[in-house]
Subunit: 422 residues, 2 copies
């Protein structure tokens, strides 16, 4: 397969060739935030193209803004048209932008020189629980290997409402949360900094088309409501979670922060990597039945950086997911819940079948009973202050690499409170 | 006690005397939405006062908008100053508005002539579970009277993230939700219209002051972050809930709609009705300990209207709540979660100690085993299509009545789906 090249240099191992063009929001030094696409090591400023009359998405400008929402709201035909136009403008054999030195000077930035901001204004955040391996592992640890999966898990994509306000972009440091934890030998909970701080390797998809209250999305239509995907770290305080989550689900153990990657990779860019989901047994009820393969082959990796050295701790793949994004979205709306443009829907922790393809420290260390050894010789059960957690993802096949870049965050020490004794 | 009167007539049983002045967003016929306060049977148009230069909240206009958020964001000192100014302008002995016929003609509408809209743009919705009687009743039904309350319930205000997109204003009809339910004698779930559609009598408070990620609100500060309260109906599909809610909490059983009253009653207006909470045993951990009475004596009533006749089915009081709004808000942020102006925080179902003071049909009918009889002779286990559910609330003491008006919604029949057989 011979791929169209850009006049912008793209290294063979770059996540961002001409075939990707993920969207993000960036801020050059001393200037306002605007929308761009990644190409190689550069960002193409879509607001600059729009202002120059070279790119038009709708009747009003949509790129000179601090979120992608206005652009996304224009709908799939416009996403496709803008993508085609950008691929044309950036291709090596198109002179329009390539030979316009003035516009090139205005429209390209090195990614290293700009700040990446949260790409989406997130009106709602939902987190699913759709990896069978993850649900099984957790069920084994906290219940019983014989009844590790609840019956409802196999019938519907279990999900819960997350907290949209604390969704942050990669690079945001996270303060270790504090709260109530219940220690095994204590009668009452204590107030403490979290002692079991974990990550959850997830992806998230961005809703691109709103619905009205009471109007479910049919499974065949669901794809048209999805704009693209990001990497997502669902930071989790396991000790706070275990004490608080019955009967209404996780709350403070999750709401202290959720990190996403700055680049939104479109479903169009991921299309060559579409693949079948695992066989679903029992067959889902009719409203969840799919006629097309709705999964994607996306390699995912997690690393911990500590003391300047990085240790890869997990390699897994999005294709292991049991419930597809389309099934998640359809289920989300089946009782009538409306969705909005920019809604973020997390996949749930992505664990694969192998020990080193698990998507959380809880699973990787089997709740600290099998600690990991980092390249610097240190051991980890859960995350320590100063640790940087990094997630990366990309698709690769026949010389085409479509990547997500990364989502990273560093753990800062917990706050100290006046009444705290530990 | 002799209360200051307004030059606008206010009936003795009105919820909206000069001492209340709740804020809402209304839309006169053929005009844009704007902010108003209720007085007697009228609405005072604050955008009209602002435009006339008679009322100023900040350096920019804030009342000529479709939500209260911009006004609320100005903070407590401004809320107090605007409240004082409005009480002055509306008082019987102040000529400024009373004798300005032109401005009065522009600034007053009959409530019956305008549409009330959702008063708040709700960036986040959280629902708590803070009535001991409710938690106990539910625990008795679904677990065991001996272990009805989980241990964590008495240690922290249990809450979960709700769905902000489906918060609607009173008067919005609700389509009966459909989804997966598990019937007792079936091996697998079936797809069905909800057969156990319920209400939950709640109040909600509106966050008035934002916080940054990682910065908890101290309990003594919590009150300054609360703008006011509304009535809230947390519509619930009990059969969908029972099948889906383990282990991550309620989802589709709640996200199909949450109704709130159009008028936001400020904490200032409620101040004369402040009262002590029930004794908390065990004493909460220090971060949740209050030094002031933080509860309010608010009478609450629920009625079902069917075939044009109305039956009161519950009379209860907000003062029964075990966890205060300030404890809820402090707990919400203790692990670092940020809040935003306009966030809605539901109290959880408010049940009192008596059988007829329960806040849901689940409890009132003890899961249909003790059906209610309506004044028209019909029985109800759960809600039927066409039923209108009405909640009302007010405080009353020494001739002063501060009311919330009502929140109402009518149940529409479920959608029919192509594959549905029942």
């Amino acid at each position: 397969m011979s791929l169209t090249q850009s006049f912008i240099a793209v290294a063979p191992d770059s996540d961002f060739p001409l075939q990707n063009l993920p969207y993000g929001v960036f801020q050059p030094q001393g200037a306002a935030a605007r929308v761009g696409v990644a190409i190689g090591e550069q960002v193409l400023d879509l607001a600059a193209l729009e202002a120059a009359g070279v790119l038009q998405a709708g009747s009003e400008p949509v790129f000179n803004q601090a979120s992608l929402n206005a652009f996304i709201a224009l709908g799939r035909p416009v996403w496709q048209q803008v993508r085609a136009r950008l691929q044309q403008l950036l291709s090596a054999d198109c002179a329009e932008l390539r030979d316009n030195a003035d516009l090139r000077a205005k429209a390209f930035y090195l990614q290293a020189d700009v700040a990446m901001l949260l790409p989406i204004e997130v009106p709602g955040y939902t987190d699913f629980y759709s990896s069978k391996e993850h649900a099984y592992n957790v069920g084994c640890m906290f219940r019983d290997p014989k009844n590790a999966l609840m019956q409802n898990w196999s019938e519907l994509p279990i999900g819960y409402n997350g907290r949209a306000s604390s969704v942050v972009v990669s690079g945001t440091d996270l303060v270790r949360p504090s709260g109530q934890i219940k220690l095994p030998n204590e009668e009452r909970p204590v107030f403490s900094a979290c002692r079991k701080l974990d990550f959850e390797l997830e992806t998230g998809f961005i809703v691109g088309k709103a619905t009205a209250l009471g109007e479910p999305i049919a499974i065949e239509e669901a794809e048209n409501h999805i704009f693209g995907m990001v990497l997502l770290n669902d930071w989790s305080a396991r000790d706070i979670q275990q004490w608080e989550y019955v009967p209404l689900g996780p709350f403070n153990s999750k709401t202290f922060g959720t990190s996403i990657s700055p680049w939104v990779v479109t479903l169009e860019a991921l299309e060559p990597f579409r693949c079948a989901s695992p066989v679903q047994e029992p067959q889902p009820l009719p409203y969840l039945r799919e006629n097309t393969p709705n999964n994607y082959d996306i390699k995912l990796q997690v690393a911990i950086a500590a003391d300047g050295s990085e240790t890869v701790i997990s390699n897994t793949n999005f294709k292991y997911m049991y419930w597809s994004m389309m099934q998640q979205l359809t289920h989300h709306t089946i009782a009538g819940c409306n969705v909005r443009v920019g809604d973020l829907m997390g996949s749930g922790t992505i664990s694969g079948p192998d020990k080193d393809s698990r998507g959380s420290l809880l699973e990787l260390t089997w709740n600290t009973t099998e600690p990991l050894t980092l390249v610097n010789g240190e051991q980890r059960g859960f995350l320590q202050d100063g640790d940087t957690l990094i997630m990366r993802g990309h698709c690769e096949q026949d010389g085409l690499r479509i990547g997500f870049g990364e989502v990273r965050g560093t753990v800062l020490p917990a706050k100290t409170f006046a009444w705290q004794q530990d």
